[in-house]
Every structure is written in structure tokens, then in C-alpha cells.
């Protein structure tokens, strides 16, 4: 029995499959486009993200919380007590434009971070209204605005306590509910935001890595006229396509490996000089992501093969397969802003399951074994079904008879 199986492996379809696989590997290791896609393209995403993180890190260092915040202000002299409270909180006043239009324009265009306006009517009164002109579209302004409003809030709280006591009431009479914020976000959230950008980019590359090989070995082979001679050899059509798909899979795996290694190395370099930024996930996490992503590689290659065998020309295949990586990348982009950990439902959706798992791993949470195996199973079954459909299409006479 075992001997029979070994014999089949050595002389049967497995040997022919291996012959096709080896030929495609040899052929494409000599192909500049395949190599570019496998070795150079996967460096671009990591370089961009690491560059962004490095810049953000510099911004953070330039704005530590203890540093004096300069706020352009108008009419602070009408409210001297507020002015001295702000000064005590390390907030320093600066001159601001004269007219309202100029003030709004300056903030809108980013020339000034924000402007505090105390009306003349505040003079001599304890109760008054202040205006804050701000632009919350910019992260720097968010930070400055939060510091200013917190400072004004603490002035209010202190005043309320004084008044309550003066009226013979409890100090907390005016604020029954005291807010105490416990911030569990890792220090310098900024870096984590950049790390969350990794999963969609990794998945994008997975759907791109083997694409040239998938096109070149199928519809490209037909266009060159080499498919007909190849089909003259006594090889099973399914085995032939599988040999080609395995070569595409190896290129996809190389691309993904290069991509993940580049992310790890580039992100390390981006945070190396920062005391505040959180370190990127450990190397083991990246290795784990590679394994979790393997079913994704399988389904990506199956889809590429499917599209490549049903299209009529390389041009057509390139258009469709150029768009294919966007399909998983779009929901992935949503996860950047609203990370979702894997759930019992998410792991049942092919591709999406891996996306949530990878997000979870980037957040340095360990996914459950049940989730890992379920997601792998579902995506692999989907990949197998798509590949079988591709084989069916590959058997059609239309595959090699044009017109």
C-alpha cells in the first residue's frame, strides 16, 4: 500500500505536477517583473508606514505635555483671574489677529493652532462666556484644544468649590459627579495607529505577490502560443494548473515574508530614537501572522488562477487582477480605524476571519486556537472550491482555441 503510494508519487501525477512547478519556478526566477513584485514591491508599504511613524514620533517629542502651550488670546486682561490660572497651568498668551474674519482664517489655514477670545463684557464679572476658535481636523490642534479646555474646566471647578464653601455648602456641592479618567491606551497611541495600518497592507501584498506568475503561466502561455504544445504532453489538466498555482503560491509566500520582515525592521528603525512611542509587535508576532496568512495566500492564488483562465487576454487579466487586491483591502482599511478582534462570526467569513485575527495579533493579543483553526479551515475550503472552478474552466476547449 505504502509502496504503491510512493510509486504513484514518484512516477504518477505528483511527479508531473512537480515538473511543471519546477519549470515555472525556474522560468520566473529569471523574470524581472516577477522578482520586482516579490522582492521590491513589498518594501514600499513598510517604508511609507515607517516614514509616517517616524515623522509622527518627531512631532510628539516636540510637544510633551509639560511644555508651555502658547495660545493666541484676545481680551485676557478682562479676566485676570482666569489669566493667572492659565499661566499657572503652563499656558502662555500670545497676540492674535484683530478682526474675527482674520482670526478664523488664520486657524482654518493652520497659521495659528487656536485662538481664545474673552469679550470686553467679562470685565468685572465672575460669569462670562469665552470663544475658542479651533480646527479639530489637525491632531496638534486637538491636543492644544484639550489642554486649554481642561485648564478652563479646572478653573470653573475651583471657583465652584470656593462658592459652595462661601455659601456654607459642601465643597463638591456644584459637581456631584466627579470624572476620573483612566486612560488604558498604550502610551503614545500614535504608534499603535500606525501599527494598525499593517494588516490591510499585508493583505494587499498577499493578493498581489503571485499575480504576474498566475497571468503569465495561463492566459500568457496561451497568448505566446506555448499552451498548445504544453497540452500535447501527457499531463492531467488539473495537475498542470496545480503545478502552476503552487509556483504562484511560493512567490506569494516570498512576497509576504519580505513584506512582514520589512514591516518589522522598518518600524523598529522608526521608533528607535523615541522614548515615548510604543515598540512594534515582537518578531514572533510577525512570524505568527505569516502562518495565519497562509490560507489567504491560497485563496489569493486560487482567485488569480480563476480570473486568469477565464479572461481572453493578458491585458484583460491584468485589469481585473489589478483590482482584486482592493476587495479585501477596503474592509481592512475600516479595521484600521475601528479594530475588531476576531469573533465567532468573523472567523466564519473567508478572508475576513484572517483579517480580524491579524488585527488582533498586531494588538499583541493571542487569538484562540478555535478561532485560528476555524478561520483557516473556512478560507482553505473556499480556496479549494475556487481552484476547482478554475480547473473546470481550464479544461474548456475555449481555453486554447481562440475565436
Amino acid at each position: 500500500m505504502t509502496m504503491g503510494l510512493m510509486g504513484a508519487l514518484a512516477n504518477g501525477w505528483a511527479r508531473r505536477l512537480l515538473t511543471v512547478f519546477k519549470k515555472e519556478m525556474r522560468d520566473h526566477l529569471r523574470d524581472r517583473r516577477s522578482l520586482l513584485l516579490a522582492l521590491i514591491y513589498p518594501l514600499l508599504g513598510p517604508a511609507l508606514v515607517a516614514g509616517g511613524l517616524s515623522l509622527a514620533g518627531k512631532t510628539l517629542q516636540n510637544d510633551p505635555a509639560s511644555r508651555t502651550l502658547t495660545v493666541p488670546a484676545v481680551g485676557l486682561n478682562y479676566a485676570p483671574e482666569l489669566a493667572s490660572h492659565l499661566a499657572a497651568n503652563n499656558i502662555e498668551a500670545a497676540p492674535a489677529p484683530v478682526t474675527q474674519e482674520e482670526r478664523e482664517a488664520a486657524v482654518r489655514e493652520g497659521r495659528l493652532p487656536l485662538i481664545l477670545i474673552v469679550p470686553e463684557s467679562a470685565q468685572g464679572h465672575a460669569e462670562f462666556t469665552v470663544d475658542i476658535i479651533t480646527n479639530l481636523g489637525q491632531i496638534d490642534n486637538l491636543r492644544a484644544t484639550a489642554r486649554l479646555t481642561d485648564a478652563i474646566q479646572s478653573y470653573n471647578d475651583a471657583l465652584a468649590a470656593q462658592r459652595a464653601q462661601a455659601a456654607g455648602l459642601a465643597g463638591n456641592y456644584a459637581h456631584a459627579v466627579v470624572m476620573h479618567k483612566i486612560n488604558v491606551a498604550r502610551d503614545a497611541n500614535m504608534a499603535v495607529f500606525f501599527y494598525n495600518m499593517m494588516p490591510p497592507l499585508v493583505i494587499f501584498m498577499i493578493f498581489l505577490g503571485g499575480v504576474h506568475l498566475a497571468i503569465d503561466t495561463t492566459v500568457g502561455e496561451r497568448e505566446r502560443g506555448s499552451l498548445e504544445p504544453l497540452l500535447l504532453a501527457p499531463v492531467e489538466r488539473g495537475g498542470l494548473l496545480l503545478g502552476k498555482a503552487l509556483a504562484a503560491l511560493v512567490f506569494t509566500a516570498i512576497t509576504t515574508g519580505v513584506n512582514l520582515a520589512a514591516f518589522k525592521i522598518f518600524l523598529e528603525l522608526a521608533v528607535v530614537n523615541s522614548a515615548t512611542l510604543v515598540q512594534p509587535p515582537a518578531a514572533a508576532v510577525f512570524v505568527g501572522i505569516f502562518f495565519v496568512a497562509m490560507p489567504l495566500m491560497a485563496i489569493a492564488v486560487a482567485l488569480q488562477m480563476m480570473v486568469a483562465v477565464i479572461t481572453r487576454s493578458m491585458k484583460e487579466a491584468q485589469i481585473y487582477l489589478g483590482l482584486l487586491p482592493l476587495v479585501p483591502a477596503l474592509p481592512g482599511m475600516v479595521l484600521v480605524f475601528q479594530p475588531v478582534a476576531a469573533t465567532n462570526t468573523s472567523v466564519l467569513v473567508p478572508v475576513f476571519g484572517q483579517m480580524t485575527l491579524i488585527h488582533q495579533m498586531v494588538a499583541e493579543q493571542t487569538p484562540s486556537l478555535a478561532h485560528l483553526s476555524m478561520a483557516a479551515l473556512v478560507t482553505l475550503v473556499a480556496a479549494a472550491l475556487i481552484f476547482l472552478a478554475a480547473v473546470k474552466s481550464f479544461r474548456r476547449e475555449k481555453m486554447f482555441v481562440l475565436g
Binding site: T19, K23, D27, G225, L232, P234, E397
Partner: protein
Amino acid sequence: MIEIENLSKSFGAVQALSGLSLSALDGQVTGLIGPNGAGKTTAFRVVYGLLTPDSGSARVDGIDVATNRMAAQRHLGVLPDVRGLYPRLSAREHIRYFGQLHGSGGKALEQDIDELIERLGMQDFADRPAKGYSRGQELKVALGRALVHRPKNLILDEPTNGLDVMSSRAVRDLIDEMKAKGHCILLSSHIMSEVSLLCDKLVICAEGRLVAEGTPEQMRQETGAQDLEEVFVRILDRAGLLHAAHEMPARLVQGKGGEAA
């Protein structure tokens, strides 16, 4: 031996083959000739297992292609109309790939490859990538690829199409050599001088069916023409199929274009 029996095949509205039968015997060169669109390439593609006929059957050494494609393919070497090489592989690598697909390997295969390279005169370019090969060099690689598994039967689709004098002659010598060794050779060609030089038996087809068959000598006697080209025209005329051969030029003169199906 290659046998085709009552083969019919249509593509949509186009009837490419309608009941074509022919046989090509061992130790003989059989020439399949006919106007463009007569169904020659379609018939070949059925024999080598690329197309499934609507009805009828094809056998190679008695093996039915439809039911046992891979076994039939092992008995068959084919030079298709389109050579189709891999630009990044060398001649040697092309031949090795096909040898391995046929189940050969190791030292025996390398020896066979060396032999083929010498026999086909490929020493100068055997280890250079195929990108930039001349048509003659491409043909030699395609022949090497077709012969590496030592097939008993050969199908050559317009073997000298686009070749210079020396390459054409080399191909003809090879065909003679294979015939002498007892191989069965089925070829198609438009070059009547070549057909008369090479073929022991002629099969003339048009519109997907057999019109006439016999030795060139029989056909000359039957039609009373000496020149094979004239024989071909008279046979088509007699069958009322001359329009099939004339259709293209006639259409071009009328400015409609297109080719007879």
C-alpha cells in the same frame, strides 16, 4: 498508425469537420492537403487530444484519444502550427521539460537531449534563452520537444512554414530519416513541391470532409495532370469545391475580405 473515423466538429455555426475519415500508416508519409479552412488543424487537434469531436473518433496506434488521451499522447509527437517557446528558457531546457513531462529523467534523458541537439544542429544556441531565436532555430526546438519521448507517430502541421531553404531541407531530411525507421508521419502543407517530394499518400480534404485519397501517382493518372498543384485544382473542381479554394481571392477582389470557413 493514426486513424480518423467519421470525425465531425463544429464551433458555433461553423462546421469545421463533417465526417472526415483517414488513416496514416507506419513507414509512410501521409500528406493532408486542402484549402485554408478545410479543417486540417482541427482534425490534428482532435488527434492530439486538444478538442473533443462532436462525433466520430481518432486513434493513435489503436488507442482511442477520447477515452485514453494521455496514453495516446505518449505515442504521438506533434509539431504544431504555432511553435510557442518560453523566452527565458534555453533550447536544452525546453526539451528537458517535455522529456520530464513524458516521464523521462536522469542521465538517460540528458543523453537523449544531447543526441537531439546534435541531430538537429542546435549546438550553437542550445544553452541560450529562446528570446531572439530565428524561425529556423524555433522550429528546431519545437522538433526536439516533439521527438524527445521517441514517439512512433508524428504529426507535422506545416513543418516548413516560414523557413529558409536550408532549414526546409533539414526538416525534409529528418522526415525521410524517420520514415525509413518505420515511423508514421502525418503532415499538412501548402507547398505542393514539398508534398510531391515527401508524401507516399495524399489525402485531399475541403469543407471538413475527404475529397480524394491515394498515392500522388494514382492521382496524377486519375486527373491526367502532371503537376500536383494542377491535380489539386482539378480534384477540387470535380468535387464542385473549387469555390472553397478560390473564395478568398474572389472576396478580396470584391472588397469584402474574410476567409472561407
